[in-house]
């Protein structure tokens, strides 16, 4: 009944308000009735207050009119349709959050535990490459023997390189071996939010008990614990309790934990007790394999040379490859055309143009000069001292790798050098990457700076 009345009110209000006002403030409200009161639920306090300030009196008039005087009052409160309809928001049935009711504070067991792992992230569809093989091996080991010597397992590396995938894959493997295992995945922000909520509602005992009873605790992006002292304190105790109980902990971080400012030393040190492994940006072959694998999962056929083309052009991280693939799928579904090289070039025109625009020879020279703390004019000069020649060779090699310019064009852009100088520089850098750690590191860093 209230639903129908509110629907009619919506029709009327829609005509009176701008589209933006309607879709932002009015359309998202859920209605329920309480005797002669129509209760409208808004998603948060901000929207609630805004509606009271700007639309309340008109809403009240409209409701009174449409309901023929049935609803003499209207209340706006924070809530959701699911609250209103009595659907389960109590998260005891779901592992994404701790129990809702304080009745659980004396309970020894989590009453019902459904894992919130993403079942699509498995080892089977994780593409192995040089950049991630150590992390993959460690993760599989933990999956086979949770709570063993590799506890905690900490996977660190840049964004979009598959850390979360690996983490879920371990969890899924643990579950496959023991379907009753309580495997809990959550983002660090969720841990913090739950703790704050528990503090506010005086339910810290529930909070502690919930996290300490899991068989495996998977926390993503622990760098977001930085600066949150109370959360770190609580996490520290949870961490210790789990380790003592030989329950597995898996963590991911965007950098080596020792490098996180605002993270307690005792936590950093404990993170290192088990196994810490890095994932690196995937090299070309792995990027191509990832694309082929994802295309297969999407049930779209991509010829190898097309995947190679995309992998060569999009090198920053796996997420961007995914974005490109999704766009190709959208285009293919729309046009019904097969995925050919021309088709892909057309589909990704905007994206590829953007990359071309970003990685110019000028940009490379400038970035390399900044990296080695020399002047752009030094790189452009004829000077042959090693402090200038090596960065110049590095910039030339990067220009060959990252742009489609010919060698004479690259030489010209470096202050009128001959194309044989460019060729020599490229060979030299390639050789040194294999033999000199510093050069390999510089090349990798510069590549990352220029392509992300």
């Amino acid at each position: 009944m209230s639903l129908m009345i509110w629907e009619q009110c919506l029709d009327l209000l829609k005509d009176e308000l701008t589209v933006q006002q309607f879709n932002t403030w009015i359309f998202p409200l859920y209605s329920k009735e309480q005797d002669d009161i129509l209760v409208l639920q808004a998603p948060n306090h901000f929207i609630c207050d805004w509606i009271y300030q700007h639309f309340y009196s008109r809403i009240k008039e409209v409701v009174l009119q449409i309901s023929n005087g049935k609803f003499v009052n209207v209340i706006i409160e924070v809530g959701t349709r699911r609250d209103g309809e009595g659907l389960p928001t109590n998260i005891t049935s779901h592992a994404t959050s701790m129990p809702h009711s304080s009745n659980h504070s004396t309970s020894k067991e989590i009453p019902y535990f459904q894992s919130n792992l993403n079942s699509t992230f498995t080892f089977d569809n994780f593409v192995e490459g040089k950049s991630n093989q150590l992390a993959l091996a460690a993760a599989k080991q933990v999956g086979l023997e949770p709570g063993g010597i590799n506890n905690p397992l900490l996977i660190y590396g840049g964004v979009g390189l598959g850390k979360t995938h690996l983490m879920h894959a371990v969890g899924n493997m643990i579950l496959r071996q023991n379907p009753h295992a309580k495997v809990l995945y959550l983002h660090s922000e969720r841990f913090v939010a739950e703790m704050v909520k528990a503090l506010q509602t005086n339910r810290m005992n529930d909070f502690k008990m919930f996290y300490r009873q899991v068989d495996a605790l998977l926390i993503d992006d622990i760098q977001f614990f930085a600066g949150k002292d109370r959360s770190q304190e609580e996490f520290f105790h949870t961490f210790n309790a789990l380790l003592e109980g030989k329950q597995q902990i898996i963590l991911t971080c965007d950098r080596y934990p020792k490098e996180i400012n605002g993270l307690e030393e005792r936590l950093k040190s404990r993170f290192g007790w088990g196994l810490t492994v890095a994932v690196e940006p995937p090299e070309l072959e792995t990027r191509v394999a990832i694309l082929m694998s994802k295309a297969e999962q999407t049930r779209i056929e991509i010829p190898y040379e097309v995947a190679f083309f995309i992998g060569k052009r999009i090198r920053s991280n796996v997420r961007e490859l995914e974005g490109a693939l999704k766009r190709i799928v959208a285009n293919a579904n729309f046009t019904g055309q097969p995925v050919t090289m021309d088709f892909v070039k057309e589909s990704l025109k905007d994206l590829l143009t953007l990359q071309d625009k970003l990685v110019t020879i000028e940009n490379i020279i400038k970035t390399v000069a900044e990296y080695y703390k020399i002047k752009v004019s030094d790189i452009m000069s004829q000077r042959r001292s090693r402090s200038v020649a090596r960065p110049r060779q590095m910039a030339m090699a990067l220009a060959k790798e990252l742009t489609n310019h010919s060698l004479p064009e690259i030489g010209e852009a470096f202050g009128g050098k001959d194309h044989t100088t460019v060729l020599h520089a490229c060979r030299k850098i390639k050789e040194m990457i294999e033999t000199t750690i510093d050069i390999a590191e510089d090349y990798k860093n510069l590549l990352r700076i220029l392509t992300t």
């Binding site: 932002t24 901000f46 979009g160 992006d221 965007d254 991280n317 766009r327 799928v329 959208a330």
Partner: protein, 235 residues
Amino acid sequence: MTLSNAEQLVLSGMRLKDDATFRNFFAGKNGLVVNFLQNYEMHSLDGFVYLWGKQNSGRTHLLHAVCLHAKEVGKTAIYLPMETLIQFDPSVFDGAENFDWICLDDVHLMAKQPLWELALFHLYNRLQAKGLRLLMTAESAPRELNVTLPDLQSRLTACTIFQLHSLTDQEKCEALVLRAEMRGMQMPQEVSDFLLRRTSRNLSDLFDVLDKLDHASLAAQRRLTVPFVKTVLGI
């Protein structure tokens, strides 16, 4: 002086108001994205969508059309315009995960605003964990957005990304004719050509002019002709 029926109708606010729908969106070169959004609920892999394009390329219109579409297919949606919300704090995102589709307009306004970037990052994660959908618009592509949080930037690049192409003058004429038709008006080509030549070429300004002409033609019971348009607009 007594008012004519038409004038009374106008003054009592009975003129048709333009909704932002897919039907009255002139796609031009944006056929693919419109088709994609019209079937948004069908794309199982592509819940996270990022539309970018210049001002007046139709970003906001499409988000509103998606909100309306949500209702038609039994989904709940919320439209969050950053232009309005950026002056407040990120708690405006609280509870957003209670909707099936979240339409976030002008995310470029969040770039270089650490609290907002973090809020969007967390919102993205929450929605992804719950299998919900996020549709964003911005004036530039994710890589050019100048976002300082790399975790957010990489997530934005993982979206299905579409560029919205602005309409050519010819397409703007056709868009005007379509919009007029939706309002029950006939707009001869010479009128649309005239408007493009003599008034703003900005599409939203052109629609405002159309609104004015609609009002005037209804009140005066006149068809749209170049002389009538000149009189109404005082050109």
